[in-house]
């Protein structure tokens, strides 16, 4: 009874409890913000790494994998582990655009759109498509993908329209672009044939710029899907000998965005069959220069045989890479092991005669997305950063806990005399301990709820805040090219929030209760004399 009265009086009467609650709020808020942003960073990275290449890939860079269709069949037959597999060719290429940027090197990926979609969710990455609702940050609804143009309207938004002076799109155009992206082809009106087309990362052409509202805006007159791209590759023979450079000029069907800057600025996708042909990796006939029709071969066992046939061999078509997606509930590492087994058997049967296998082939051929060479560099970097961040985070948390503990400790220590008075008036030890437990817990809870609210507000609005900082203060902390992502992670995990609030309140509680118990367990006279 008296506990409630005194708790209330303590809470209302002084600056100290207010400061303590603010300290709890700041500590919990800070820890949660750091955790959410940094944690979100990793999760986003993991999600995007997977969305480029599925869970596991098999890669033999230059020579390629012969009979890959059969390997895919074998993989897909193992439904327990494998959800889908698709062939890919990856190579470096030189990119030329009609206008603007000088030639640049890109990673060219030949894909089969449907298969790539099944493995890596390709269709979801296609950027230019109709969207119904503006993004949350796009309050004015000016995203080009919202289809502002009606039939008969000019291409550039007329004065007073939401996209005044900017390229607009109609619903039909966006739907067509999406279909083109999915098919990776553009219908040629002259020949009525579908021409293969490229889908480029949104940051590849440098035509686009990112708006603070979270979407991409093509520069005036620079809408990539109405332009062409010229790609030059260096084919090599299966023995690694360079052949003449091969060049192709393709219309750009659409653009894609994974949200990872390193990918969106580096990758160009074209149809698998086209790249296979350009790199001379399609099926071919090889002529044996030593072959003489009707000649006799003396075999080692003493027999003789006549050479029959045409003197040619069929070179099988090849893919450099196979992306594999794990079946439900299978981890990338489990899949990795399984794929290695399947590939091992396949290799012995189909490839051992033709292909020299280096001793390290295992590590270099089948790997999970985390080990993929093109992703590895930034995954490793981020993982290192994450470790650092975790250490810092642990430090911040520790400091917060100690800080809260000290604040509550000194606040309650100040009340030692009150404990003496209450004990002199006949209050029990437990009764007094309970009083301060209430006090600490209440302040801890109030503080951490305020802290959570604060953290939630800041984290969910971190991108606008960051942009505002950029504009108002000239501070640009988050450079997409450095931090891999276009946006700062802005999700708060409720479990984390709960944990942070719990630990915050607990530190306050323990900090409050320790000196209270100490005071309650001394003789009242000592407590009364306490300074």
């Amino acid at each position: 009874m008296y506990q409630r009265l005194i708790t209330r009086r303590y809470l209302l009467s002084k600056v100290m409890p207010l400061l303590a609650a603010v300290a709890v709020a700041l500590c919990t808020g800070m820890v949660l913000i750091v955790w959410s942003v940094m944690g979100g960073f990793l999760t986003q990275l993991l999600a995007s790494g997977k969305s480029l290449m599925g869970d596991v890939s098999i890669t033999i860079p230059v020579q390629g994998i012969p009979y890959y269709e059969e390997l895919i069949d074998r993989l897909e037959a193992d439904t327990e582990y494998v959800a889908a597999a698709t062939p890919v060719i990856q190579t470096l290429a030189l990119m030329n655009l009609e206008i603007g940027a000088p030639p640049a090197d890109v990673i060219l990926m030949g894909i089969e759109p449907e298969g790539y979609d099944r493995v890596a969710g390709y269709y979801d990455l296609i950027y230019w498509r109709h969207i119904d609702k503006p993004l949350r940050k796009d309050k004015l609804g000016i995203d080009m993908r919202l289809a502002h143009r009606n039939p008969g309207d000019p291409l550039y938004g007329p004065p007073g329209s939401p996209r005044e002076g900017l390229r607009t799109a109609s619903r039909e155009e966006l739907d067509l672009l999406y279909e083109r992206g999915k098919a990776m082809g553009v219908l040629d009106p002259a020949s009525n044939e579908i021409m293969p087309a490229a889908v480029v990362g949104t940051m590849v052409t440098k035509f686009n710029w990112r708006r603070p509202e979270g979407f991409i805006e093509p520069g005036r007159g620079l809408f990539a899907p109405s332009r062409t791209i010229t790609l030059t590759v260096l084919p090599m023979s299966d023995s690694g000998v360079m052949i003449e450079p091969e060049e192709a000029t393709l219309p750009i069907a659409n653009e894609f965005s994974m949200g990872v800057y390193q990918v969106d600025s580096k990758y160009v996708l074209i149809p698998f069959a086209l790249l296979q042909k350009m790199l001379k990796m399609d099926q071919a006939t090889r002529v044996d220069p030593d072959w003489q029709p009707g000649s006799v071969t003396f075999n080692a066992d003493g027999t003789t045989s006549f050479n029959t046939g045409t003197g040619t061999t069929i070179e099988p078509a090849r893919a450099t890479t196979i992306f594999v997606r794990a079946a439900e509930g299978v981890t990338p590492d489990q899949l990795d092991e399984r794929v290695e087994q399947i590939f091992d058997a396949f290799y012995e049967e189909k490839m051992a005669d033709h292909y020299w296998r280096p001793s390290t082939w295992r590590e270099n051929t089948v790997f999970t997305w985390e080990q993929e060479p093109n992703l590895r560099f930034f995954i490793a970097a981020v993982k290192k950063e994450t470790t650092l961040v975790l250490v810092l985070f642990a430090l911040i948390s520790l400091v917060s806990v100690v800080l809260l503990f000290s604040i509550f400790w000194s606040m309650v220590s100040e009340k030692t005399k009150d404990v003496g008075i209450l004990r002199a008036l006949g209050a029990s030890r437990m009764g007094v301990a309970w009083l301060f437990m209430r006090y600490g817990l209440l302040l801890g809870l109030v503080g951490s709820i305020a802290g959570l609210a604060l953290a939630y507000l800041i984290v969910t609005n971190i991108n606008p805040i960051h942009e505002w900082m950029g504009r108002a203060l000239g501070v640009q902390v988050w450079d997409p090219s450095v931090y891999y992502f276009m946006d700062i992670p802005n999700k708060v995990d409720p479990m984390r929030a709960l944990l942070v609030a719990g630990v915050g309140s607990l530190s306050a509680l323990v900090g409050a209760i320790a000196p209270a118990v100490r005071a309650a367990w001394m003789d009242p006279v000592k407590a009364l004399r306490f300074e």
């Binding site: 008296y2 009242p524 006279v525």
Partner: protein, 259 residues
């Protein structure tokens, strides 16, 4: 001098009694013996003044009587015998045998403390401070009843207009009156007052003393008043003196060595 001398009587008449208590404080390595076999006995309705020089252990004795502190576990008497540290009895029951709950109850119900430095809770209003003892104790009364009694007590001490005030808004004398009201809240068997006027000017001190004496007259309140002021002591039924850690027989001349 109007000291009434009560000859030692059978233990049964005493409300509170200390028998040969020892108390030694340890400061670092040095031991400071404060009480060395002090005994005091207070009968029902008595008002006993404890006199002694500063540092003679008056407060210490009072704290032992009120169960705020414990005598030493072991002690060496003057003739080098090892004894226990003595005991305090409440109605012939040694309070050292009380369990924690009983001891809490003893402090809450049986004694009322008035401290030299008031010891009011600064965050609570005057009424709330006064009610505190009854709020802590068993819930015999409703909150309204408690408040009514606290108000009545405070009115008796002339604080009717200040009920909602905080201790800091009161003068020293007013604060001490609140402390007395708080001590009386649970109608204690003994009121233990530690230099209730020590911190006050003469006039205010006299008022406080008048209030206490009125309690004695009207309600036969048993009390022990610690003081080093002879004038205060003179108004008690009986005076005992502390010197060299012991209580020296009552009724001795007070003026010879206290100045």
């Amino acid at each position: 001098m109007t000291t009434t001398h009560h000859p030692p009587t059978a233990a049964s008449t005493a409300i509170i009694e200390a028998r040969s208590v020892y108390k030694t404080y340890t400061l670092g390595k040095t031991k400071v013996p404060v009480l060395r076999g002090a005994s005091i006995k207070v009968d029902a309705g008595e008002c006993v003044a404890v006199l002694g020089a500063s540092g003679s252990g008056k407060s210490t004795l009072l704290h032992l009587l009120g169960g705020l502190d414990r005598p030493d576990d072991r002690a060496v008497s003057d003739n080098d015998e090892l004894t226990d540290g003595g005991r305090v009895y409440f109605r012939n029951e040694p309070i050292s045998s009380f369990g924690p709950a009983r001891l809490d109850q003893f402090r809450n119900q049986s004694v009322g403390f008035v401290f030299q430095f008031y010891h009011l809770l600064p965050e609570l209003s005057i009424v709330e401070n006064t009610m505190l003892g009854s709020m802590i104790g068993a819930r015999k009364h409703s909150r309204a009843e408690m408040k009514a009694r606290a108000t009545e007590l405070l009115e008796r001490f002339g604080l009717a207009a200040r009920l909602a005030h905080r201790p800091v808004e009161l003068s020293g004398g007013e604060r001490q009156r609140v402390a007395i009201a708080r001590a009386l809240m649970n109608q204690p068997d003994v009121l233990l007052a530690d230099e209730p006027t020590g911190n006050l000017d003469r006039k205010t001190g006299a008022q406080i003393l008048d209030a206490l004496m009125e309690l004695r007259e009207r309600f036969k309140q048993t009390m022990v008043i610690v003081t080093h002021d002879a004038a205060t002591a003179d108004r008690a039924d009986r005076i005992v003196r502390l010197r060299d850690g012991r209580v020296i027989g009552a009724g001795e001349s007070l003026h010879s060595d206290d100045d």
